[in-house]
Every structure is written in structure tokens, then in C-alpha cells.
Symmetry: C2
Subunit: 329 residues, 2 copies
């Protein structure tokens, strides 16, 4: 046994609550990606999930686990956009009110979608304001339950259902041993997948992938203690920029994950372009870093196969057009 | 019984040959699409199929049905690109040589991919040359088996497996009655789906969707006899521009399909944009006409639900960027 915030039983319980509400995303392949990567590439396209990212899993898990009287009062979340949409969607589907606190520089599409899911959106300045403080104060004032984006057991359990599916799909595809590359912000998805794989597919090893300059998890894993990012702005990978790994997610990642990987913004954009060209899926830059690493970090990855999670696809058209311009260059 | 080229038993036999080789694509939804369409919209994303279009189904069906000695000699196909890639891929997976005859104005991506799948590509002029004649002559000269793009029983049977999946997935989603809109060129996919639905989901009705000015199937269904397009060039929906419905596909569509629908090039581009924004999938213009019709032809469609097949996603980056520019306008 361990002292982690959750166990694989929590992930399986979340999977039961999610059943029929969350899409079981497929495992996609392309001979062209295999050729680029020098090994078999399997992509888990969570951009095809409801709300366009894996965040719908954790949000549904958290909202569905609430006691009915708490759920009726409503939930609150703070997020750069994907968790926002996930919580807004899950709340709406449960008939619960939702307040979402979003950075004012989040992609317009994510803000608009969060509002369209019926949530009340409160904007804040990512560089000067503390979203945790804003969220906590509003939660207390209105009796809302705070659904944290990653450092929350029921959220980690929900994200971990991605890992249960990868374990099953890898077995079906005959993959006994592989690195599973996961786009990583605060570590909710990475730690959830790591827990599920450790139990269900011990030959598969989760590894976080981050943008260069925002590699808090990679450095934390290397140091053996939580490290912070120096800056919070300036990355095109807005979905996965967080100050530091979570207090709940870090011990899990530290015990179960392989070393982190980092990619440049240009490599993330090329990952978006390859996902477009080869898989016909729409990835956002932060959702493409794991695929980018699979394609460009040949010598840092082990095994004949690699699994890359494309974690989200909520990208503004202008940014996507920029990624398309990398094709053929 | 009927006098059609194939029966649902042929489609089921094709499904058995395709099992494990073809992706069972999901049925995607978005509350945003429902709002635009004024009814529940279910999208079958065949752009996520191997080779980026449903054509992989018919190609696998045809190549797998060949006698081994014929298969060893190789296959030949003529196609604007998606059938080309499907046949090249299916041949390669079966270890058979493939010659593909493509129009010189086909998207560069489709030509490059067909070559990358190992096929020998022969280009011809779509406006002045007869691809049927070129194909037949090469087939005879080299002992290759011609795999026609649509007017071929085993190809129709393979495309019809899409209809078997729609029937099952509609039942799971509780859809008892709906129009099933299908992007239509020569009618292979439309007739295959129509046959499958007539047997497995009689409340679902297949309807072809075409680009304005290239509506040979729509006019043929209305007239009760095969009508030709006046022109073959000038559409952005290259994937579904054919001279006329097939001799095998037309009787099936005439007996089983509802009336055809047409959309403009601008509407097709908006369909591409909505697929990007709402479903995170990459559709080509010709592959988006059914979704475009679902979103814009509210009063020509019957029922509370509509199913739209997104038939392919092999689109050049420049054309996709053009579709993105329609967003917010």
C-alpha cells in the first residue's frame, strides 16, 4: 500500500460514475508518425472528449461524487480554460450552478465556451492576482464547492480513467512495454494515468511532458522535491502552465513516473500540425506536447512503442493557422 | 428480395473481413452543433478512419475479397485521392502491388500520401482525359485487378459497414428515426449505408449531400434516371465530384434514399470550421457537406435527430486555413 491521495479503486469507482457520460476515446495510429518517431506511435486523442479535453473526466468525477445538497448549491473552479469547460459542462449536466474563474488572457474560444455551457465566468489577471484566493473567497461567500483543477482526489481519480482505457487498449494492441507520454500541467492527468498503469499495465510507464521554460514537474521529479516555474506567462501552451506540481500529484508522480521531457513552442506547433496531417484531429499546443516529444525525442524514449496523450483541442483559429504554417517548412 | 448489386449479407461479410483492420469510428456530439441545427446532431467521423477517409473500408473489402493469385499480381485504381489512399493502404497491408491513377489537380497531400503508402502514381488531366480508359488499359497490360471507386460490389459492401455501425450506434443513442446525411460522389458510401440502414435500422433514412453545381445524384434521384454533371472542375469539394451516379449505386439509392441536398462551397467551408471548433476533427470540404447540410438545411430535414457522416479529412493546409478564416464572420 501507499500513502497517495487516491488508489486505483478510486479510479475504478470514478470510471463507474463516468460510464455512459464520458467518451471512451480510441487509440489512433499512422504509419507516417511511426516513420517520424522511429517506433510505433499510439495516440490517445482526448481532444475528442466532451468539451474538447480530458478535463471533462475529472470534472464529472468530482461533481458526481458530491453530496446532493452540496451539488445543489453549486461548484466553483479556476482554470485557464479546459478545466473551466469541463466543470461548467459537468455542472450543467448535473443541474448544478457553476462559477468559473478564468485568466483574462485565456483563449477567447475557451472563455466563450465556458459561458455557453451556462457558467458564470469571472476573469482575473494571471500575472498579478492569486486565483486560489479569489476562488476560495467566492466559494465561502456563496456556499459553492471548490473543484480544484488537479490537486483534488476525485479529479485525479477521474483523469485516471484515461489510464484505465490506455491499459486496456494497449493490451488489445499487443503493447506490453512502452513509455506513456502525458501533457502535464499540475499533474492531475499524469498522476492519475500513472496510478492506473502501475496497477493495470506495469510495463507501461507514465512520463510528463512540458513546454521549455515551464518545466516545473520535470525539475521537481529530478530534484525529488517540488520546484516552481519562474514565470507564468509567455507560453503558447496555456493549458499546461501551472506554478508548480500539486501536493497530492507530486508524490504519485515521484513514485511512479519516468523522467519528464520538455519541448519547445515550435515543436509543440509541429505536433499540432502532425496531428492535423496524420490523424485528422485538432490539438491545442499544450495538448500536443506529448505527441511532439514522441516525434522528436527519439533517444530519450524507451521501447519499440510509445503512447502519447493528446490532452485537448481547444485552440483559437489564429493559433491553429500558425501551426499549419509550419507544414512543409 | 431485390435486384441490387449487393445485399446486406455482403455488407456483413465485408464487416467480418474488415474486423481488426478498420477503425470503428465513434458517433460524436456537441451541444453547440445541436443549437445551430435546431435538433440533435450526431456525427460519424470517418476522417478518423485509416488513411483519413471511409475509402479504406471499401478498399480493404475489395482487396481482401480477391483470390490470392490475383492479389499477388496487384491492383489498380483511379481516384481524386481518398480512394487512391485507401487502395494503396489496403494493397500494402495485403502485400500486393498497387498502381493509382490520379487527376493532376488532386490535393498535393493526397498525391504525396498515396505515394508514401508505396503505390505507383500515374497523373492524368481531369478535364481532357478519360480515367476509365487509362485505368482499363493499364489493368489489361499488367494483369492488375481494377478496383473501381464506387461502382463495384465489394467496394459498396465495404462502405456499407459504416451503415452497420451507424445502425448500432443510433440504437445505443436511442435514435429511432432520423435522416442520415452522407457526402456523396458516385454513391458507393451512400448506397452502402442505405442498404445497411434499410435492413438494420429502418427508421433511419440515408440522404445524399452534394456541392451545388455538382448535384448529379440529387438530380438523378429527382428525375428517376441517371443525370450527368455539366462540369467536372471548379469545386473545392474534390473528393465527391464525379461525372454521374454509378450503374450499381443508382438503383440502390433510388429505391432506398430520401431526396438529395446540396450546399454551397462557402457552406462546406463553414462545415469544416464547425467540425474544427466543436468536434476537434479535421474534415475536408467534400467531407463536410453532410455536416454543413445538417447545420443549414433545418427545414429540409425531418425528425428530432440528424446523423451526418464526415467522410474524409485529407485537406491541404492552405484550404483548411481558408476554412478557419470563416470563423467569427
Amino acid at each position: 500500500m501507499n500513502d497517495f491521495a487516491i488508489t486505483v479503486a478510486d479510479i475504478e469507482a470514478a470510471a463507474s460514475r463516468l460510464k455512459g457520460h464520458i467518451r471512451r476515446t480510441p487509440l489512433l495510429t499512422s504509419p507516417f508518425l511511426d516513420e517520424i518517431a522511429g517506433r510505433k506511435v499510439f495516440v490517445k486523442p482526448e481532444c475528442l472528449q466532451h468539451t474538447g479535453s480530458f478535463k471533462a473526466r475529472g470534472a464529472w468525477s468530482a461533481v458526481s461524487a458530491l453530496a446532493p445538497d452540496l451539488r445543489r448549491k453549486g461548484v466553483i473552479a479556476f482554470s485557464s480554460g479546459n478545466h473551466a469547460q469541463g466543470v461548467a459542462w459537468a455542472a450543467k449536466m448535473h443541474g448544478a450552478p457553476a462559477v468559473i474563474i478564468m485568466p483574462s488572457d485565456a483563449p477567447a474560444l475557451k472563455i466563450a465556451n465556458t459561458r455557453a455551457y451556462g457558467a458564470e465566468v469571472v476573469l482575473y489577471d494571471r500575472l498579478t492576482e492569486d486565483r486560489d484566493q479569489i476562488g476560495t473567497e467566492m466559494a465561502e461567500a456563496r456556499g459553492l464547492t471548490l473543484v480544484k483543477p488537479f490537486d483534488e482526489p476525485m479529479v485525479i481519480a477521474g483523469q485516471g480513467t484515461t489510464g484505465l482505457e490506455i491499459a486496456e487498449q494497449a493490451a488489445e494492441a499487443g503493447i506490453a512495454k512502452a513509455d506513456v507520454l502525458v501533457c502535464c500541467g499540475g499533474g492531475g492527468l499524469t498522476s492519475g494515468i500513472a496510478l492506473a498503469l502501475a496497477d493495470k499495465a506495469p510495463g507501461l510507464r507514465a512520463r510528463p511532458v512540458e513546454p521549455e521554460g515551464f518545466d516545473d514537474v520535470t525539475r521537481s521529479l529530478a530534484a525529488g522535491s517540488i520546484q516552481r516555474n519562474e514565470s507564468m506567462g509567455g507560453s503558447i501552451c496555456d493549458a499546461i502552465v501551472t506554478p508548480q506540481p500539486g501536493n497530492l500529484t507530486f508524490p504519485i508522480m515521484s513514485a511512479l513516473c519516468g523522467p519528464g521531457l520538455t519541448v519547445t513552442d515550435d515543436e509543440a506547433l509541429s505536433g499540432v500540425a502532425e496531428a492535423f496531417l496524420r490523424l485528422k484531429i485538432v490539438a491545442e499546443p499544450g495538448g500536443a506536447v506529448a505527441l511532439a516529444a514522441a516525434l522528436t525525442r527519439k533517444h530519450e524514449i524507451e521501447g519499440d512503442s510509445v503512447v502519447a496523450v493528446v490532452s485537448g483541442g481547444n485552440v483559437d483559429p489564429a493559433m491553429f493557422a500558425k501551426a499549419l504554417q509550419t507544414i512543409g517548412k
